[in-house]
Amino acid sequence: MSTDPRFAPGARVRVKDDWPETRGPCHIRTPHYVRGRTGQVVRPLGAFPNPEDLAFARPAPRRQLYHVLFEQPPIWDEGKAGDTVMVEIFEHWLEEA
């Protein structure tokens, strides 16, 4: 798999609304509160072995990691407009928005 970043800084991305927890034992580094949410790529952070494989001692291909920025109030239906939350998310959890 290529580790060149698919998304550039500023790209609008949606976090997959996926809940692998329902499919059995798994390890996930994408916080539940951003799943299905749309954010903006701040920058690619480099490629790292996929922790979802590492957790099970499987071969872990490197996946591109991004800093993705979200508006904070819509996530919780509370908070102050303009406040944000920035999360490290692996590329396979992101799709174009």
């Binding site: 580094r29 916080p31 919780w76 908070g79 944000t84 939350v85 999360v87």
Partner: protein, 193 residues
Amino acid sequence: MAAPPSGASLALLEKLVAALSTKGLVTEAEITERQAITDRASPEIGARMVARAWTDPEYYALLMRDGKAAAEAMGASMAGAPELGVLENTPKQHHLVVCTLCSCYPRALLGYPPGWYKSFAYRSRAVREPRAVLAEWGTPMADDVEIRVVDSTADYRWMVLPMRPAGTEGWSAEKLASIITRDALVGVAVPRV
């Protein structure tokens, strides 16, 4: 420091270490070495990094470009440690670091995370109501300052570069470092004169 481990968790830990040793994944010597690195690490190193960044433009540039190299330049042992990212506070933006998934923390640099950083209360509230959390820490934020919560979830560890407070003009780097606390490097506090 972490809460003292209970007897049950110590027994589990011993079993885990034994299993990892049997599989050849880790040795007691490696664990001891890692503990020694964390024991040597201290928020004082982070404080000295910030103070130098405030007073040395070249070091500031290095810190923003390559956190690990900047930490090593101040004597931290960063070999084998995750990447270190630096989050610069400005008059319009304040960073607050949390790890909602577990307790990721720049241990190689700052040492062991404080108990509150690992608590469910901090991890769930910092990301949901950061202004309330900051106010409880005695760090209320003006309405025109963006709070940027940084959820440390993967292969980086994050340190906040606080703003240099007014009234510190002409201070030496040593004196500046004395007002930079661990809590300011996580973002729950700001340096005060």
